[in-house]
Symmetry: none
Subunit: 229 residues, 2 copies
DNA sequence: AAGGTAAAATTGGTCAAGCCAATTCATCAT
DNA sequence: ATGATGAATTGGCTTGACCAATTTTACCTT
């Protein structure tokens, strides 16, 4: 689910416009928006539709509606860079989710890391290095590395989440954006980051491992996004 | 405890009724609800109002609306593999995963929590209290609470993970063991834990919120396991 | 009888106009 | 000034209608 739906529901579009408008006009917390009637006319939609958008924004926590009084901004609206996300997934969201999940998982894993598991990770890393050298796309090896760590949590549910999130990158979500630069340069950089992760895990240092993992995923996100125009 | 409030917005009441009705009738995932027109008449409200309730339920993840077709209980694609069920997946693992994911998510959410979002959470909590008082199983309200928090991260991927993990509890894994754990006693305890979470969120205290969430999920796990002897 | 296609019925999507109730605000009497 | 009062404003909700997508039905072709 969730790709570029052409005709999104009207209330979502309207909610988007309101978010954008609010942000571009630099309205701050507590500011009062125009009345429902005015907003509806301004955005060129009917009042019921405008109303549906407001309910969405209210649930979302962007807006507060006081009956008989008016519509007020709840608090700071400025989301970082993801203005265009609304209800749709985005690569940034995906990578943020991975960072959160894998960043937590690796802490668990670090505490349970066995020598055998470390050896397996090392082997996986070597395989990835060979793939890069051979000019092959080390995607499978990349996945294996992340899954091995996830499995070390000893929790199959977590492992499944990590696997699903990894797959998501190749699902319908990014299908259209898949202009990826599979240059050996980006892969060798990813390889180095994996090495840093393994290093931290070898020392059974959970925090350092987490930091390394998050750095890796962040860099990965950047590589992914920069690859497309 | 029946501290009901005075004038709740209509769409919230309607959403409540739908949640309750759906659950008391034992409708399962993917089930199709009556048409908007029928539902509206059945509940004694106008179609626009019914519509607003549906939007709330849609955002909440309870319902999926397919234009021209109908209103369906959110089924969602069963991900890639239910296979993980067979091997070693246990309630403990599930709850550990939830603790990890939701424990991280709530930190994100705490930093973005608006007054309106807090109000929505409060509303959800009240709805849950009413359900408990009425002797109904407040499962839908429980889910709504967790999803609202997840939604507050602003990351739809994270929201989806939380929703999936929540649903997992009712998969084939625990289907037959779910008999006795639904006493009003255990639910009112869960309610208190939710209250603690909301309290921490009100104070925008990420760490305390995380602690409260993890305590809740841990207690939830214990209740779940103890119920099936 | 089987299959496919077009029309009809169903359903969500949206709009228009209006009435009610709560809130706000200007006005006026004190 | 001050406080009460009534008009304007604003959200809350309803009725009724039309459009577009989907689903179902009926009919025609093979």
């Amino acid at each position: 689910m969730s790709k570029s739906d052409e005709p999104r529901r009207l209330y979502q579009q309207v909610a988007d416009q309101i978010r954008g408008s609010v942000q571009s006009k630099g309205l701050s917390k507590g500011a009062r928006l125009p009345s429902e009637r005015d907003l509806a006319q301004e955005l060129g939609v009917s009042r019921p539709s405008l109303r549906e958008a407001l309910i969405a924004l209210e649930i979302e926590g962007t807006v507060e509606i006081r009956g008989g009084s008016g519509i007020y901004l709840a608090a700071e609206v400025p989301r970082h860079a993801e203005v265009a996300h609304a209800l749709g997934e985005s690569p940034s969201e995906l990578m943020q989710a991975r960072s959160m999940v894998e960043g937590s998982a690796i802490i668990l894993a670090a505490g349970r890391m066995t020598d055998a598991a470390l050896a397996a990770l090392k082997e996986s890393l070597d395989a990835m290095a060979r793939a890069v050298d051979a000019g092959r796309d080390p995607l499978a090896e990349d996945k294996a590395f992340h899954l091995l760590i996830a499995h070390q949590t000893g929790n199959s549910v977590i492992a499944k989440i990590v696997a699903d999130l990894f797959e998501e990158r190749h699902g319908p979500l990014a299908a259209r954006l898949q202009v990826r630069s599979a240059t050996s340069g980006t892969w060798s950089q990813a390889l180095e980051e994996h090495q840093a992760i393994l290093e931290a895990l070898s020392q059974r240092d959970p925090l350092q491992a987490q930091a390394a993992m998050c750095r890796h995923l962040e860099a990965s996100r950047r590589r992914w996004l920069d690859a497309q125009v």
